[in-house]
């Protein structure tokens, strides 16, 4: 082997000197240990990520289905408007005893003896407490229903819903669980007749908040978050880009701009709750804007997101090579034209990526919104950014504080919705970066 290696005229291969002991074995053991620590650390982080996500998904995926009970309802005039006054005084329709209407419907459908008080109560408990309100709204909207029999789809009570989803352990003694054997029998009866079924939970996305878990939805929170995002986008993007253009392209390099620079970096690291205090003191207490309004929330989140957008935009502007600037200026463009015609369009993908990431951050922010009163219990979807509202993460916070098991499901469902939004936004940012990224 060695001969083959040497050229013809070379005489000898140098003799190998005695090997020194440089502790190779011990040192490689240390090397392997060190590497293992690194892998363990990485695994720890990733395992917790999956643990967290799986907890949320395991608890939450059932929230997207909801048990409904379809019952024929008799809108008897005797119960709703016994004195036949509705033509002159519509308010009787609002005050009528719809609880009885709903109870009669379920009692009849199950064939329960109407005299057996305990059974009637147990049967009625299978329907959501929101059922009478649902009937009221139907009758108020269409008084001609009175006297007719119509099949209405009711929400099942949260306990029944979770039993129907198989979340109740039926081996537990009856006295220790919230669903009685009697009710389970009825459930089987209703399921067999097709009256009770699981359906997609549209209420989760359209309803406002409710103290009954089965009727509580994210409608208000989604609209509120939408308002917040719109306000942040409309305010933070132009202001952030304008500020970055000034600082990066026009500002003289002096102590003042240095101060602004340090200031912006610091603002990016100020705890978000401090922005909530700022919003409370300035926008609500001083300027007199309404509490709980998405407008105030949007302003607070705008101030919070601005530093992120400015930092990202400045990086994107800086990445545009000087040669482009020189080329534009060399053709006689003014500095303003150079920026707006050449530098800004080239930096746009980077700016938008930064903006989306900032928006995603703002979407998940909770603490400042708590302070400006967006934790209000709001049942009606707000028509404008001046009306009280909540936001997605705040709704999660409020539901997380509820004790009932069914609210855990709702909370997890809401988290899934929030995370889906965040994933879509971040994917958008990644795609934008991939699609338009330029290497100079």
């Amino acid at each position: 082997m060695t001969n083959a290696l040497s050229p013809a005229d070379a005489a000898v291969i140098s003799r190998a000197p005695a090997r020194r002991d440089i502790g190779i074995k011990r040192r490689y053991a240390a090397e392997r240990r060190f590497r293992a620590y690194g892998i363990a650390a990485l695994a720890f982080g990733i395992i917790f990520l999956f643990l967290l996500l799986s907890t949320v998904v395991r608890n939450g995926y059932t929230a997207f289905q909801q048990t409904a009970i379809a019952l024929p309802v008799e809108f008897t005039e005797k119960l709703i408007d016994p004195d036949n006054k509705r033509a002159t005084d519509p308010s009787v329709l609002i005050a009528a005893n719809y609880t009885a209407v709903a109870r009669d419907a379920i009692v009849k459908a199950l064939g329960v003896d109407a005299q057996n008080k305990a059974d009637v109560r147990a049967a009625n408990a299978m329907l959501s407490k929101s059922a009478p309100i649902q009937l009221r709204d139907m009758v108020v909207a269409d008084p001609s229903l009175i006297g007719k029999t119509v099949t209405v789809s009711f929400l099942a009570d949260a306990q029944i819903d979770s039993a129907n989803k198989g979340q109740v352990d039926l081996t537990v003694p009856e006295s220790n669980r919230k669903v009685s054997d009697r009710q389970i029998g009825w459930m089987q009866q209703l399921s067999a007749s097709g009256a009770m079924a699981k359906q997609f939970n549209t209420g989760l996305f359209t309803s406002g908040n409710s103290s009954r878990p089965e009727a509580a939805g994210l409608g208000v929170a989604l609209v509120g978050s939408l308002y917040l995002m719109l306000i942040v986008l409309v305010l933070a993007l132009p202001i952030g880009v304008a500020a970055s253009i000034y600082l990066e392209e026009f500002a003289p390099k002096n102590r003042l701009t240095d101060l602004i620079e340090v200031n912006i970096n610091n603002l990016a690291a100020v705890p978000s709750i401090v922005y909530g205090l700022l919003g409370l003191a300035v926008f609500i207490n001083f300027a007199g804007l309404p509490r709980s309004a998405p407008l105030v929330g949007g302003l607070v989140l705008t101030l919070m997101t601005l530093p992120t957008i400015i930092i990202a935009t400045r990086a994107a502007l800086r990445a545009v090579p000087p040669s482009i600037r020189a080329a534009a200026l060399g053709l006689g463009a003014s500095k303003m034209q150079m920026v707006f015609h050449h530098v800004l369009p080239l930096a746009m993908p980077g700016i938008l990526t930064g903006t989306i990431i900032g928006l995603a951050h703002a979407l998940g922010e909770t603490a400042p919104l708590l302070l400006i009163g967006m934790v209000a219990f709001v049942a009606d979807i707000p028509g404008s950014p001046m009306e009280p509202s909540t936001a997605l993460p705040v709704q999660i916070y409020m539901w997380a504080n509820e004790a009932e098991r069914a609210f855990v499901e709702r909370t997890s469902g809401a988290i899934i919705v929030l995370l889906l939004f965040l994933i879509v936004m971040n994917l958008g940012a990644i795609l934008l970066r991939r699609r338009f990224e330029r290497r100079w």
């Binding site: 082997m1 060695t2 083959a4 290696l5 040497s6 050229p7 005229d9 070379a10 005489a11 000898v12 291969i13 140098s14 003799r15 190998a16 000197p17 090997r19 020194r20 002991d21 440089i22 502790g23 190779i24 040192r27 490689y28």
Partner: protein, 271 residues
């Protein structure tokens, strides 16, 4: 330390080239960076206690060849070496050869001086410490002093051994890096354009140092300066576009090269 006497140096120098033992042997060495091929079947030997200069226009592969001699190319992602490189007859890319041990035997000095951001003393002691070459404080003191002595830096820094190595001048930093390499007692020292970042006076000092080191070490030096190759080396290899064009005694190379391209390069027609 095993410093040779002046007489021994002269003896080595007088030996005709073809009976000096081969320290390293390269056979059909090719290097790829990803899909790009940087070296084409290079056959080049390195003789013991000799300075071998690698010259050629930039991008010709001379640094790539140098870095494959102690497997520094391993640190570059996507880099692949084929062919054989042997140190004392053992293939250094063989699975049985340990890269840490190899680099302890084949040291390297880089283009830009890269002292660690530590004191001068710690810079020198680093190698012996990790390899366990010294135990007591006295051992370390001795190694540090001897290495700095040999690098010709001792007199300049002996009063500030515990100050930062980055505070030295460029030339001193480079000699510190050479001293750092010597402290591990390597058999071969690879130098990758060690003077390119230095001024002429510092360059002269380093060249003088190379000349002295040759008595104890085998040296391979990459340089873009023909004059430097002529001044410090006994053997010269000329690279062009990834091919080894010519390998010859330095004297012959600079007076009467075999290959037309070498002549062109030396005359300054390209590069």
């Amino acid at each position: 330390m095993n410093m040779l006497s002046e007489v021994a140096v002269e003896k080595v120098l007088e030996k005709p080239m073809n009976i000096i033992p081969l320290k390293m042997v390269g056979k059909d060495v090719s290097v790829y960076y990803g899909d790009k091929r940087a070296l084409y079947d290079v056959n080049l030997d390195v003789r013991e206690n000799t300075v071998t200069a690698l010259i050629g226009p930039s991008g010709c592969g001379k640094s790539t060849f140098l870095r494959s001699l102690n497997r520094m190319n391993d640190t570059i992602e996507g880099c692949k070496v084929t062919g054989r490189i042997a140190l004392d007859g053992d293939d250094i890319y063989d699975a049985s050869i340990d890269v840490v041990e190899l680099r302890a035997r084949v040291g390297m000095v880089f283009q830009k001086p890269n002292p660690f951001p530590k004191s001068i003393y710690e810079n020198i002691a680093y190698g012996p410490k990790i390899h366990g070459l010294a135990r007591s404080k006295a051992d370390f003191d001795q190694i540090v002093e001897a290495s700095l002595q040999r690098a010709g830096l001792w007199n300049e820094v002996k009063d500030r051994l515990h100050e930062g190595g980055t505070g030295l001048s460029g030339g001193q930093q480079q000699r510190l890096c050479i001293a750092r390499a010597i402290a591990v007692s390597p058999e071969v020292i690879l130098m990758d354009e060690p003077c390119s970042a230095l001024d002429p006076i510092a360059t002269a000092k380093v060249e003088e140092l190379i000349h002295e080191l040759r008595a104890n070490y085998t040296i391979v030096i990459v340089t873009h300066s023909m004059q430097q190759a002529a001044r410090v080396s006994q053997r010269t290899a000329m690279f062009h576009l990834g091919h080894l064009v010519e390998e010859n005694d330095t004297d012959k190379m600079f007076t009467n090269p075999d290959d037309q391209r070498t002549q062109d390069y030396i005359m300054g027609r390209f590069g």
